[in-house]
Chain length 348, copies 2
């Protein structure tokens, strides 16, 4: 397998190096063809590498960065003052050809802005979108975008998201003629925001898109569509809502006897069998655990940039690194660029 | 208990009288002080009453309506052509003092528009909002609004929703000084849509509102707030997303052995114990079953109007009728009007 080098914004996210460094080591251990550039404060990173195996260390380089973009910074201000930050340097490593992709759990708006500035959008794409692939009830997957890169979206942006999502479903999910839907508050044509209705009118006329109409929030996980398109505000709230409900169920499954007085009533064999069954149920539900699909791809750029959840734990951040590797191996940006040329109207 | 008369739009919703009539009979049977006016096509309703107990029949009256507003009709057109429809007549029964509340599973936009026209908003309220009370993880409840009455919302509307939601939490959940949050895509002040940031600035200055800041989608069910405020588009998508995920989990719980090849491997006693445990889990999760909290109240009107899910089944529509009864008994519109007078700035 060809070697792969990724740049990690080691300082981003709620926990910084405490999560990113162990996750990096985990990824190195399970991928012998992987090299990592850890961008950040050496004083914070190197102590975490003290007892690390020399093989792993040989495939890891600490790239110093003086500062970090705060997760609550205003993106526009953060971008102006971004020189020397771990996020910017990680992106510059792609630009300079030293890394093939970058992973950051930092400020979403700043990552989006800096990526546009340094990596540049593909031709014909106004604004990149955050995209993720969610598991659905029919044991398949759905491409969902935008998950928060663009808070305000016009109809042209929604149509571009539909095109990018459709290409991603073809390339990543290996689906022919993937179904594309717009997320709305009803399935009737007259429903919803005017931007969505305008996007629907454009998508109906697009010969290369298999547009199937509006779907509602309850259809996000039913597998009725292969691509679900929405603006970044709605997508972000929706994804986090799904995560919240799934986490609640998983935590309830882990402790079904935590209700007052229930524990005492159970005999040991019922407890034992209960645990057995819970394990089975957890296995069934486990594929919906948000940690297992962490890492949204910033789609529509000339390179691969993966945004991890700010609150990601080690396991989740390692999943985001895996995502970056797969995206690079699949040459997703190149493939999308090639398809976009055929699909999108020429600007000249 | 004082007698109560409700008007039901018997023709509204995906299933019309097939759901509304059995639900009406169910509600009459369990509430001896209830009278119902079933508004709709007698030819469709009366056959369903053929074998009904005479006591129930004596508390039920069919009010004829010539037509029905289609659920996919454009609200503005539907309202112009609403004379003689079951929804309009049901609302007129409140206006004329013959009914104390109305329940409809019909077109949300038309119900909102007609209710504003016929029942009138409370003083100081621009636009009523659809509100529902969702169970959360901490065994309490959260008031969530707007759930779809207003697709486009400005900051003033969001502030009014916050006030109404706060009063509802005090009156219905019996909470003192309920916490109020705005649903956003991050907890930092700079995040999200400008309307939300403007509403936040106003809420911070409102002495009567216990505003606690932004919360994200994953906090909808965690119980971090007593009132969650958002625009109708986001609220509708979010609520339906929650419902979709909950339904998926509940259906998986009901058939945990449906995976290929699993059924054969289980012995009878494991199956039996499995069912026992599933029952317990279903009981734990059951309070999140969307059917059990069907019925969103159109808050901010001078009367009680309850919107049921269009796809409601008999049980869910009966819950919406119960909701209407409770809202009337609690005199919610009067109480909100009284509190609004104290809280909202005078328009003159």
């Amino acid at each position: 397998m060809t070697r792969l080098t990724l740049a990690l914004d080691a300082m981003g996210g709620d926990f910084g190096p405490c999560v990113t460094v162990p996750a990096a080591l985990q990824a190195l251990a399970s991928n012998p063809a992987l090299n990592l550039l850890l961008v950040g404060d050496p004083a914070a990173i190197t102590p975490l590498l003290a007892k690390v195996d020399s093989d792993l260390l040989s495939r890891l380089e600490v790239v110093p960065a003086e500062s970090v973009i705060a997760s609550d910074a205003r993106p526009s201000q953060a971008i102006r003052a971004s020189r020397g930050t771990s996020m910017r340097i990680a992106l510059e490593l792609i630009k300079d050809g030293r890394a093939q992709a970058c992973v950051s759990a930092g400020n979403t708006g700043a990552l989006m802005g800096l990526a546009k500035l340094l990596i540049k959008p593909l031709e014909g794409i106004e604004r990149p979108a955050l995209v993720s692939v969610l598991p659905h009830q029919q044991h398949g997957k759905t491409v969902v975008l935008d998950l928060g890169a663009n808070v305000d979206c016009d109809s042209t942006m929604l149509v571009q998201f539909a095109v990018m999502g459709s290409v991603m479903a073809e390339e990543v999910l290996e689906l022919k003629n993937p179904r594309v839907a717009l997320l709305n508050i009803g399935e009737e044509e007259s429903k919803g925001l005017s931007t969505i209705r305008e996007a629907a009118a454009q998508l109906k006329e697009a010969p290369s898109i298999n547009y199937i109409g509006y779907l509602e929030g309850n259809d996000l996980l039913t597998g009725k569509t292969d691509v679900m398109v929405c603006d970044g505000f709605v997508g972000n709230v929706t994804l986090k809502t799904v995560e919240g409900v799934v986490r609640m169920f998983l935590s309830l499954l882990k402790s079904p006897a935590s209700g007052p007085g229930q524990k005492q009533k159970r005999s040991w064999w019922l407890k034992w069998l209960g645990r057995l069954l819970q394990k089975r149920l957890s296995k069934r539900f486990g594929h919906l655990n948000p940690d297992q699909y962490n890492g949204a791809c910033l789609l529509g750029l000339r390179g691969t940039v993966i945004k991890s959840h700010g609150a990601a734990n080690q396991r989740a951040f390692a999943v985001a690194i895996e995502q970056a590797m797969q995206t690079v191996r699949r040459q997703l940006p190149d493939r999308i660029a090639a398809r976009l040329e055929a699909v999108l109207p020429k600007s000249d």
